[in-house]
Amino acid sequence: MIRPLRRAHFRVWCVLALVLPVAFAAAYRAIPRTVTSPLPVRAMPEARGPVVATIDRPAALYRLRGSAEVGYQLEVVLKRPLRSARVVVRAAANADDGDAVDRDAILGTLDARGLTRIDIGRERLDRFVLSDAIRGDIVDTLDFGSTSEEGSRP
């Protein structure tokens, strides 16, 4: 090899010796890592006040907690894992509420299992609809205002 080409080879490899490891390391750092930390847990509000009404089903225990001072809360304890991918909780109007309740507003969603608390504000709501957000099916309806404190099934 002639001297100019020898020099050119040497210079090219000197440049590559600097550039390649840097580019390699940058690409290596960009590799997505497997998540090893626990998945983020949805913030769960503290229980508000005493239980004012309860509906007990084979699959879940529903409680209405709170008061006008501290606000009301729907508490759901799932006894069995949900069979729907995503269950949303909406308010259903009381018989005498007229259009005062926005039926389309989603109050919250249920986790697949365990305890879920959903804040519903300072105004007490007694009727709720639990529906499968994907398939559109109603999973359960709750009526805490009935005299028996039992919800009604669809």
Binding site: M1, W13, P21
Partner: protein
Amino acid sequence: MSVHYRAVQWNRQKRIYDACIVGGIVAFLAVFVLAHRALHPEATTETVLIRGTATLALVMLHGILAIGPLARIDRRFLPFLYNRRHLGVAMFLVAAVHGVLSILQFHSLGDEFPLVSLFTSNTQYTSLADFPFQPLGFFALVILFFMAATSHDFWLANLSPRVWKTLHMFVYLAYALVVMHVMLGAAQRDSSPWLVGPLAAAMLGLVVLHVAAGRRETRFDAGSPSETPDEGFVDLCAIDDIPEDRAVTACLGDERIAVFRYDGKISAISNVCRHQNGPLGEGKVIDGCVTCPWHGFQYLPAEGRAPEPFTEKLETYDVRIDGDRVLVNPTPHPEGTARPPAVIRERDVPEERS
């Protein structure tokens, strides 16, 4: 060299070399496919072949790039250099299979023309993790194609060794593109240490080899004799420093000179073979001809030209013997200028060594 010598033809050594290349490719792919089938039975045949040819091309590219500096550092690697171009063409063919299969698998079922889809399906050039790595491989393949297409001696002769060598230095750009093609592609989806680890080791090894060989050459050029010339002559070495039928090389002026000792004579010629700029000084004298260690091109040392019917010519230099010292005039004579060799007399060689 005889009149029967054919510069660009098949010979037994080339056939053995090429048989080893083909056998190695088939064996590698067979082992890869079997191992992949065992470890990933869910993979389709196309996927296995894409991965197998990619891995094989990567291994071959590293081998090809390592041969040059290894041969500079250790002469035992010279046989690998002999037919390196065939290894390069084979590597291109393997890489081309990988490229074609990848384009067919990932870009042939859409609305866009596959080569258009290659460049338009992902344009996230600002993200390293989602960088469009496939165009990098495509451009590397284009470079390798031009290198394979111009690898024949026809192009070497028509472009001139200097231009041809310069053109073929683009393989280094292709190598950088291939490394990033892997790191921004396969490595982003499979961060297994079996992919990133060996690639990092091979890359660093290659860089160290080339830089070490380059430094060695640079030091050699800088450390060659530069004493005050005696009537234009430079004291190069002692007679006994040159083994019989071998040479001592030195960088005098702009280029290296090879000073050969043969048949009781000493002649100096350019160290640069006219074929591929091979280092003639690392060759030896066979049948009275200086023989290039790379591809066997031969030259008559006192005449600076290849024997008939070949036409290659080299610069020649004047040589003088002063006592037991060899003096060389670094001013070159035009290519093919015959210069009388310096004759070694009995009294020139120290008695205890003669």
